[in-house]
């Protein structure tokens, strides 16, 4: 039992983990303190990038940050609550209908963000051939076609709708399994102790009994929110998005890194994003974690 071979067993994963997850984060932190244009070697400039980010990057402050906050506050908690409500609803049904509903609700998240943008671009097409335009025109609600994906007024809303639509991912499945695995006797005991209705049942029994799954679901929902952030560029077909309407932090990083080659600055934005994700996860841990 005391053989030291656990390192051998773990090494393939640890090496890959180090090379493709940990090291990029360390390098990002280092680069964020430099000026780096990919041609000359990085030059250390201290906190300059962060100061620029907070004080001089108008696009970041006026567009990217508000967009990101709005998008993540709706898609994150919204998708999360939707997952729980839908999981609870289908847990009330016998196996066959439950499986069918679970499959239907999960199927949008089987579609890759990138490929599905092909479809959404057709539905929201800007001319009268676009399905939404054709529908609204025939109902007389609009009198000329709307440029849904190119118009700064609509892009962010459409991004939120598409993201919510496909947000029933792994977290949803975990919550469903969590609800189904709660011991029935817990409910019976609670009703004897004076539980009155199904709402109380959810608050006092269901959620506390599946805290670990709720936390897992929350973490998955945070990840989903920030990985689905590329959808604005996919939908509008341009980076930056029209008048920065759908620009989120992830797009800002790509904009500076790969279009302007300001790698140092882009890395500072990356670090800011990682900190934001970390803060969100601490909040979920506080809410659902077990000490």
């Amino acid at each position: 039992m005391n053989k030291k071979n656990h390192w051998i067993i773990l090494s393939p994963y640890l090496i890959l983990f180090f090379a493709f997850i940990l090291l990029p984060i360390i390098v990002a932190i280092f680069l964020s303190f430099t000026y780096f244009n990919t041609i000359q070697p990085p030059k250390i400039i201290g906190f300059q990038n962060y100061i620029t980010l907070l004080t001089r990057d108008e696009i970041f402050m006026q567009k990217v940050l508000p967009n990101t906050i709005k998008f993540s506050l709706i898609v994150g908690p919204g998708g999360y609550m939707l997952s729980f409500i839908l999981a609870w609803l289908i847990a009330q049904l016998p196996k066959v209908p439950r499986t069918i509903y679970a499959l239907i609700l999960y199927s949008p998240s089987l579609t890759a963000g990138v490929t599905m943008s092909v479809l959404w671009r057709v539905l929201f097409n800007g001319d009268q051939q676009g399905y939404l335009n054709a529908l609204l025109l025939s109902l007389g609600l609009i009198d000329k076609p709307v440029q849904w994906l190119q118009s700064p007024d609509h892009l962010l809303t459409i991004m939120i709708i598409v993201s919510l639509w496909s947000s029933m991912g792994v977290g949803f499945l975990a919550m469903l399994a969590g609800i189904l695995n709660i011991d029935e006797s817990l409910y019976e005991a609670a009703y004897i102790d004076g539980l009155k209705n199904r709402f109380q049942e959810i608050i006092y029994i269901t959620i506390p009994a599946m805290k670990p799954q709720m936390l897992f679901g929350a973490v998955m929902s945070i990840v989903y929110t920030f990985t689905s952030a590329g959808i604005g560029v996919a939908l509008s077909g341009t980076n930056p998005t029209p008048q920065y309407a759908g620009q989120l932090i992830v797009n800002h990083i790509e904009d500076y890194g790969f279009l302007r080659y300001e790698m140092g600055y882009a890395s500072a934005v990356s670090v800011a994003l990682l900190i934001i994700i970390y803060i969100f996860s601490r909040i979920s841990w506080k809410l659902f974690g077990e000490e």
Partner: protein, 288 residues
């Protein structure tokens, strides 16, 4: 006394209200997916129809033929992208499973000092968003000499924190006594993994396999950032570029829908066949 009705065995009148809520929601969730099937099989004149009709009336395979014909003139046929994607997906699934099972076993059943630290690092990495650190990742891959290699399609996907997490949680359910008994009988770790752990681990392996397949099949990241050689790029990348090439023309929409369908269907089929195993794994997915 009211009794809880989670997970009922059979139909009851009281369930009707849940169906009344769920049917419209399911319909909305399904609409885009029905649309993509319908659009992919529409003949040219139905694509041009005004006002547009949602469902296909006379289905044809024209869009699929057109999709394959499109690349005939160019030096790289579409089958090249497809083969790249299939090879990437197979290799990613197999290697991710092996790596995650080894790591999950180590973290669950081995006793050593830094175990807790590694597992909590892995839990933190569940939140890893690759696009956030795309630039340093690019630089590291460049330094490793992996730019423009086929391997980078696979390598950047193999470290899958959620895979290790799910497998470790699943192995935690396997009693230690079983493994200790095997040790006493003189079994090595590899013996234990292959003869005891893996047979019990099937649901978790299936789940991690599906997640790895989805990640690999849907990934255009490596093709966009790390590969310049068109011969090595994947089908997901090809689909991403398809709308840019065909523009927003109506004919292009049919082709794009056909391509999207090819992207979607393998994910769907795998999930349908494996869903009971996935649910079984998810039961142990709690984070504490």
């Amino acid at each position: 006394m009211i009794k809880a009705k989670n997970n009922p065995q059979s139909f009851h009148k009281s369930q009707i209200k849940y169906h009344l809520i769920l049917i419209p929601i399911s319909f909305v969730m399904l609409l885009p997916i029905i649309f993509i099937f319908s659009q992919a099989f529409k003949p040219m004149d139905e694509l041009y129809l005004y006002p547009p009709r949602f469902l296909v009336r006379r289905p044809t395979l024209d869009n699929f033929f057109e999709l394959f014909r499109m690349t005939q003139g160019s030096s790289i046929p579409i089958s090249r992208y497809l083969i790249n994607s299939i090879l990437t997906a197979i290799a990613t699934v197999i290697l991710t499973i092996i790596i995650s099972v080894l790591a999950g076993y180590g973290l669950s059943k081995k006793k050593f000092k830094s175990k807790k630290l590694i597992f909590s690092l892995n839990n933190l990495a569940l939140m890893f968003v690759p696009t956030a650190v795309i630039i340093p990742r690019y630089l590291i891959i460049q330094k490793l000499g992996l730019i423009d290699t086929f391997w980078i399609n696979i390598l950047s996907l193999l470290a899958m924190p959620i895979g290790v997490f799910l497998i470790k949680q699943f192995i935690d359910q396997i009693p230690d006594a079983l493994i200790e008994a095997a040790y006493i009988d003189g079994a090595s770790d590899l013996n234990i993994i292959f003869n005891i752990i893996i047979p019990l681990l099937r649901p978790a392996i299936a789940t991690v396999g599906i997640l790895a397949f989805q990640a690999a099949w849907n990934s255009a990241e490596a093709s966009i950032y790390y590969i310049n050689n068109e011969n090595l790029k994947t089908f997901a990348f090809y689909v991403t570029n398809l709308t840019a090439v065909t523009g927003n023309t109506v004919a292009g929409q049919g082709i794009a829908a056909a391509a999207s369908l090819i992207m979607f269907v393998p994910n769907l089929i795998l999930f349908i066949f494996m869903q009971s195993k996935v649910m079984n794994t998810m039961a142990h997915s709690g984070l504490k």
